[in-house]
Amino acid sequence: MDKHISAPLSREEAKSLRAGDYVYITGKIYTARDAAHKRMQEALDRGEKLPLEVDGNIIYYMGPSPAREERPIGSAGPTTASRMDKYAPKLLDMGLIGMIGKGKRTKEVLDAVVRNGAVYFAAVGGAGALLSQRIKSARVIAYEDLGTEAIRELEVEDFPVIVVADSAGNNLYETAVKQYQKES
């Protein structure tokens, strides 16, 4: 079903989301992909604070193309989430409430989603131009030297995502595919 949520997200609301829900997010979310995750992990290993508050927030696995004049951001679709699997369980245990990406996750990540009452959303891969228009502002808040891989705070409005993995342990990638599989 269609739902509208705001970000940051409450734990209760995250827990109420179910695999298959079509969700529109309005509020603040943060981008981070490969290089930013590696740096965050290194910061944690050194006992340092992270450049963003993960508790209650949503991380969008995305590295945009450059913005043209007078636009907040360029093309801005999701990247493959599995490359962040190594880092995600730790962040979820620290309170990260949602992840937006595309593609399968490891059991460790899915377990951490259930354990923490979090949620994994998919945005439509390859819809970067459309998703770009739902981003109202973008600001680099850390690791500027990483260019497209820097951590950005995004203000989004009705940003469309689909719940893939929920806190009850459902995984849409598995259930939906079975429904359309032909016996061979």
Partner: protein, 281 residues
């Protein structure tokens, strides 16, 4: 007769093609994407395909790249043997075209200088260039920016000759099944069969640049393309990997002679943003 072509002309064309390819799908891809909306049975799948139609419109109207992963620039150069290139080094001219296209076109710079040290080159160079010498006095350039969500799901299988055509079909289905949602379906599947380890991979890459909806001129290969497309669309993966009938838009297969002891198969997967632009100078 030797025909002289300035390498500046090559730079200019490559620059334009990088920008075009990242904002406008080629007509063949546009057609199969439109057809997919009607073919899809899953309501969510149809919703995603409709969203992708809207995405393509926004990309062209507002000049926002179709996908933020504007790819590593793969360039096929077919150079007529009666052509003399003047004005500088060809490889530098090709990379200069990529540099200008990615910088002036607001495209993402996704190339790192060293695979392990991973420092961004900041202009998306170098390109991956495949040269071929052909008869004639023309230069045919194909620019195919390749995104890595799908590139990462591509595979090479060194099959045994005894595994035959069934082995090849299984290899393709295995690669597509494993790729699942990661490769941004609906995908285009490029397959190279034969040659050597590296040759089959290049065949598969080049197969992706052949028009979606076209078929091999070899009858058994054409049949295999049709059969595999149907089988892939029976896997249930669907648009976005969220279930449905349209998992692939096309299966393009290229073959080449091979060794008595081998049956190399490469499966190069591309997402629905299968970008390719060709010009002949």
């Amino acid at each position: 007769m030797i025909r002289t072509i300035s390498v500046d002309k090559i730079t200019e064309n490559i620059k334009e093609m990088c920008i075009e390819a990242n904002h406008f799908l080629s007509p063949d891809m546009d057609t199969v994407m439109k057809e997919a909306v009607d073919k899809e049975e899953s309501p969510l799948g149809r919703q995603i395909l409709t969203q992708l139609q809207e995405n393509l419109k926004i990309a062209g109207d507002d000049m926002i790249p179709i996908c933020q992963d504007t790819g590593m620039a793969v360039i096929f150069m077919e150079i007529g043997q009666d052509v003399h290139l003047e004005g500088g080094c060809l490889e530098d001219a090709v990379n200069e075209g990529v540099r200008q296209g990615y910088t002036e076109g607001f495209l993402r710079k996704s190339v790192v200088k060293d695979p392990l040290i991973r420092e961004n080159t900041k202009d998306n160079t170098p390109a991956v260039i495949h040269y071929e010498m052909v008869p004639g006095d023309k230069v045919k350039i194909t620019v195919a920016p390749k995104g890595f969500g799908s590139e990462n799901m591509s595979r090479v299988f060194m099959l045994k000759p005894a595994e035959g055509i069934e082995g090849v079909k299984n290899a393709v289905l295995t690669a597509v099944r494993d790729a699942g949602p990661n490769a941004c379906p609906p995908m285009v599947v490029g397959v190279g069969i034969g040659g050597t380890f590296e040759k089959c991979a290049i065949l598969a890459k080049k197969a992706l640049t052949r028009d979606a909806g076209s078929h091999s001129s070899v009858p058994y290969v054409k049949e295999m393309e049709e059969e595999l497309l149907e089988k892939i669309n029976g896997l249930g993966i669907g648009p976005g990997g969220l279930g449905g009938r349209v998992t692939a838009l096309a299966v393009n297969i290229n073959t080449y002679p091979t060794h008595i002891a081998g049956l190399p198969v490469a499966v190069n997967i591309c997402c629905h943003v299968n970008r390719h632009r060709t010009r002949t100078i």
